[in-house]
């Protein structure tokens, strides 16, 4: 645990306080300069944009996963089959699956080709290289992370509570929003963290599906460690990202304790 978690984090923190080497890497002296650079409005905008993207992905994932998890939790003996279908995409690398989406979405891709052949459109729809495509990639990639914790809480939900709700006059939708959803709060919180945190630092989906227009903080960090060769600044960005993630997890935990 210590080796795999604490040591790399400590190295990143240390790098963020050092100076930039001429050909990558880090050199002394120690400095806070890297963090001062972060105040640049451009980086703040990218941070804000990344936060927004991650939040949108989490909300969409949970919104889509909830009915799916509910369906799986109520499908009796087929539960295990459906759960393995949810996990199935993990057998292929995320990178390959993102490429597959590119083949579907690009101007000469499957969707545009079919729509054009059907005579529904003349010009190809701009499906790729925009925020929507990035969000689609994120939602697609992280959906299982919402389905699994939601399924786990729904599975444990006492069905008698829903009978009680109906008995007291609640129509199925009222029972869903007054009983099922509130009692799923722990699962919703877990799903939100599981999706929000990795989405905040994502660079693959934005790099491949977003083209040059959609830059997220993950792309900036990747760039600092590769093309820009500014490791200390990349490390400083990573530290800020970690802090945001930790703060959010702490807040979610506190809220969870209050509810209990």
């Amino acid at each position: 645990m210590l080796m795999t978690l604490a040591v790399p984090s400590a190295i990143v923190c240390a790098y963020s306080l050092l100076s930039r080497g001429a050909y990558g890497g880090v050199e002394r002296p120690w400095t806070l300069e890297n963090f001062r650079l972060l105040a640049d409005p451009m980086y703040l905008r990218i941070f804000f944009r990344s936060l927004w993207m991650a939040a949108a992905a989490a909300v969409l994932c949970i919104g889509l996963a909830f009915p799916l998890a509910l369906f799986i939790a109520r499908s009796g003996r087929r539960k295990n089959l459906y759960l393995s279908l949810v996990i199935l995409p993990f057998w292929t690398s995320f990178l390959i699956r993102i490429y597959a989406w590119m083949f579907l979405l690009r101007d000469t891709g499957l969707i545009n080709t079919v729509l054009r052949a059907a005579g529904l459109i003349r010009q190809p729809l701009p499906l790729l290289y925009n925020d929507g495509a990035v969000l689609l990639g994120l939602v697609y990639g992280f959906l299982p992370f919402a389905v699994l914790p939601l399924y786990a809480t729904l599975e444990r939900l006492d069905p008698t509570l829903l009978e009680a709700a109906a008995d007291l006059g609640a129509k199925p939708l009222e029972a869903l929003f007054r009983v099922t959803v509130p009692l799923c709060a722990p699962g919703i919180r877990a799903a939100a963290i599981l999706i929000f945190v990795p989405c905040l630092g994502t660079y693959l989906a934005s790099d491949l599906l977003g083209g040059s227009k959609t830059i997220l903080i993950g792309n900036v960090i990747q760039n600092q460690f590769t093309a820009a060769r500014d490791w200390p600044f990349g490390a400083a960005l990573s530290v800020v990202l970690m802090m945001i993630a930790l703060a959010l997890m702490w807040a979610a935990r506190r809220q969870g304790e209050e509810l209990v």
Binding site: D158, E163, A164, D167, L168, L183, A185
Partner: protein
Amino acid sequence: MPALLELKQISKRFAAHCAVADVSLSIERGQFFSLLGPSGCGKTTTLRIVAGFETPTSGEVWLNGTRIDPLPPYQRNVNTVFQSYALFPHLTVRENIEFGLRRKRVSGCAARVAKVLEQVRLTGKENRKPNELSGGERQRVALARALVLEPEVLLLDEPLSALDPQLRKQVRAELKDLQRRSGITFLLVTHDQEEALSLSDRMAVMNAGVVEQLGTPREIYQRPKTRFLASFLGAMNWIGGVGVRPECTRIARQPNGNGSRRGRVTRSVFLGSSMHVEARLESGDMVLAQVAASSDAYREGETVHVWWNSSDELRFPD
């Protein structure tokens, strides 16, 4: 007067298993009615059919002149007290009780909640969550949550089974009291014969999906129609194919005329208010006699004579 709740030839089949077979019941307004039977006899399924959680395979349910079996639970004017109470863990006592009133958009919510809280002696605990209450308090919240809606029939599914035995007797008395004062018709499901006998105005004893007998507790206890009922309700001695209740069985050291039978005491148990004497007759039958605590103590192995009045004999065609 027409019945308030009527079950007409209700059957419920689960795959190959028939849980309820051709059950017909009618319950009048203001009655305390019990469904008594061993586990798996179909009594809970029958209750769930009235509540609307199960659809009968055949038959009809009528409530106050309306056929309700095609209606979903939320459109039926009956409410249930669940065996596990099924209180909403994320809501306070008040919110649990208000749940039904809000769904039905009843006005004067606060006054009704206050009144029912007083009825079940929970005033002052409105803002607690279910996990901060004792078992007895939870049971009363479950009761209040259903009663506040003033249902035509209150359905109670083994409401006392989760309570410890001491509390059970007290709550049983309170339940009867609550029913009398509210005037609401109660339909109770239980496997506890003492509960059914002491609470019910009328009751039905079920076995293997059918109603074996319907009547007042006294009728069923004193004149059971089947061998099953005779054994299930109270204790019963079976001597030469004839049933005799232990409390009707007499025992003495001297023979009582020609009718008495000889046996040896196998066990004698003092129970405080009464005494149980168990003896093996010469015929080989075991017999239990319940006698006054003040009567003589019998030693094991002692020879005794046992008899009873022929009017206390219960006979069943085989």
